[in-house]
Structure formats: structure tokens, C-alpha cells
């Protein structure tokens, strides 16, 4: 069965590049351009995995993560932080709030990000 990934990212071009690559890897990709829409779609569709940026309009990534983990319906959905913030305190904060892992976009090629996402998606099966 096709797995669903919710991509919460306000950069339209990054959404396009990542979204297209994930769809080629046989994932169903849902898209949200801000934190509020992200939470709404997570509650509506209960995706298998959430990719979350931290700097977002309306509601930032930390607030979204907090809300997702506080809600019974979404607290068990694994969340991968995909951001360009590289501060140690931000990384700690995200992991403490329940993020599965934290990836800094500029440090990885698109292929490597997809590989990490697929590894996480496989773990959901198990």
C-alpha cells in the first residue's frame, strides 16, 4: 500500500523538488505551505510520515510539532524536521519535542534526503 507523506514547507520551489522526487518513489505527497494548514491536513489525512520545516508563516515548526504530539490523533506519526537552522539549541528543542530526526537541508543532496525518508518509512512498517 502506498505510504502518505505530509510535507509542511513554505518554500514553494523546495516543495516542488522534494514532492516530485517523493512521488517518483511511489509515495502519496500532501503539501502544506504554513503551520496551520499543516496541522489541519495532518488531522484530516493522518499521514504515515510528516516532513516539517521550522521557519513557517502563521505557526512555526516548533508550535506545529508541539500541537501534533499533544493530539491523540497525530502524536504517533513520526516527524522528520527538514530545516536550514543549524543551531544546537534548536536541534535539541526539536528532538525534545518528539521529532524522530533532524535534517539540515543544505548538508544533504536530494537523493540522500530521500534515502533517509525511505529508511524512516520502512521502520513504520516494522
Amino acid at each position: 500500500m502506498k505510504k502518505t507523506i505530509l510535507l509542511i514547507e513554505d518554500e514553494a520551489n523546495l516543495q516542488k523538488l522534494l514532492g516530485e522526487q517523493l512521488e517518483e518513489q511511489n509515495f502519496t505527497v500532501l503539501r502544506a505551505l504554513n503551520g496551520e494548514i499543516g496541522i489541519k491536513k495532518a488531522l484530516e489525512h493522518r499521514p504515515n510520515l510528516i516532513l516539517l520545516d521550522l521557519i513557517l508563516p502563521k505557526k512555526n515548526g516548533f508550535e506545529v510539532l508541539r500541537d501534533l504530539k499533544a493530539n491523540q490523533a497525530t502524536k504517533d506519526i513520526p516527524v522528520i524536521i527538514l530545516t536550514n537552522l543549524e543551531n544546537a539549541s534548536e536541534i535539541q528543542k526539536a528532538l525534545a519535542l518528539g521529532a524522530t530526526t533532524y535534517l539540515v537541508k543544505t548538508n544533504y543532496q536530494l537523493e540522500e534526503i530521500i534515502k533517509k525518508i525511505k529508511e524512516c518509512a520502512l521502520k513504520i512498517n516494522n
Binding site: 518554500e11 514553494a12 523538488l17 505551505l33 508563516p57 537541508k105 543532496q109
Partner: protein, 285 residues
Amino acid sequence: MPFFKECQQLNLRLFECPSFLFVIMGLVTIIAIISTYFVTSYYAGPEIVIVATASAAMVSFVIGHFVVRSVSRIAQAHQMQSDFVSIASHQLRTPLSLIKWAIERKNLDIIKQANQRMLKLVNDLLNVARIEQGQFKLQKEKFDLSKLIREIVQELKTFTQANNAKIILPDQSLVIFADKLKIKMVLENLINNALLYGGKKIIIKLNNNKIVSIQDNGVGIPKEQQKQVFEKFFRANNVLRHQTQGTGLGLYVCQAIIQAHQGKIWFKSKENKGTTFYIKLNKKT
């Protein structure tokens, strides 16, 4: 203790931390009061003791206040510098990620857009650095401001048409003595913002009191955010970032340019109604 955490967060040594210094100056004031009391009561009568103790308290309090205030300002500037570097590097990393991933997907359009964005950001950052270091020198010349506005509007023709917008030009001419390139930067920024932030009808006016106004009927600026508009990296909440690729530095640079000309820049705005920016140039301009 709470100030150890604060000092760590601000990346300051203990003696540079305003909260810690506040406690120390408090202790110094108490010691000054107690020692003045005991010393003067040994040598002088009660009236002198009261006056001396009160004076010691006041002097140490005033000195303490100025010390803590100065250190607080230094800590704040240090924090702002650190925030600036953090925000600037994050803003640069975004187009870098785009270029990196777009190369893999062979998407030339995205590479071009990201490249333009990086160029603009680097230019804006360099301008901010020049402003901060006082290297903002003006090269003044006489030129017709209305002619300059017409040139800018002509350059923005494609963008204006793509936005289905209309720009009404001023009908009067105005010759000023100013730095043409920098004034052009200011006007380009303001007219561009008017288009970017949803303006379909933009009216540019000039008057004999050397006031330029640029009025749009776009999204406006939320009232609670209006105080921050000229701050570095400020972007209003009512604009989705994916709709506008601005750096948030434009208005900070505009204000610096106008102030360097001894002029004034301000605005009036109402959410969902629009914004009007005003520039008043100095009489000598």
C-alpha cells in the same frame, strides 16, 4: 541560578551579564549603606549619619543603574549581532539548498530564481554592513526625480503587467540634489513592495514640499506589527513567504538612505485596505 542560564544563552561571561551585574550592584549599594552608617555614626551625630547614608545609597544606586544599563545595551547589541548572523545565514542557505536540489532535478528555472535571490540577499547584506559601519557615503548630483520614477516604472513594466496592476505617475516634475543611485534603490524598493503586497492600483505623487508618496491598495500592514516595519529581516505575518521572496532588509536600507539625506520616511497603513509610504526630503536636497 537564572542568570547563569541567561549568560550562557547570550554567550556572555558572568561579568558581562546584565542580570548578574544587577545583583552585584545591589550588594555594593547595601555594603555602601551599611559601611557609611557605621563609619559616620562613629565620628558624627545622627543628622550627619542620615545624610551621609542617604547620599551613599543614592550615589551607589545611580552608578549601579548606569553600569547595568550600559552592559545591558552591549549585551543587547551582541544578541542582535548574533541573531543577524543566524538569520542571514539561514536566508542564504535556503536558495543554496534550492540550487543544490534543482541541479539534481535538472530544473534550470529554479536554479535561475534561486541565484537571483541569493544575489539580492548578498547585496542587501552588504548594504546593511556598510550602513552599520558608517561607510554609507553619498554621491550627490542634480536630477529630475519624476524622470527617475518614470524610468523605474518602465523597468518594472513586465512585473506590473504580470500582476494586472496599474501605476499612476506624478504629473509634476521635481529636481533634487541627492545620491541618484541610492534614491533609485529606495523608490524601486517601495514601488516593488507596493506591487508585491497585492497592490492593483499604485499612485505616486510628488509635491513642492519635496514629499514623495507611494500609495497602494494591497494587503496593508497589520496594526500590531507596524512598529517593526523598519527593523532588519522584518516580514509581516499577513504575507505568505512563498508569495514574496523579499529579504526583509529593504525598508531598513531605505530608512538609512533617507536619513543619510537628512530626510524622513514614514507610512500609513490599514490591513486589507492598503499602504501609503511617504518620503520627505530635506530642503537642501
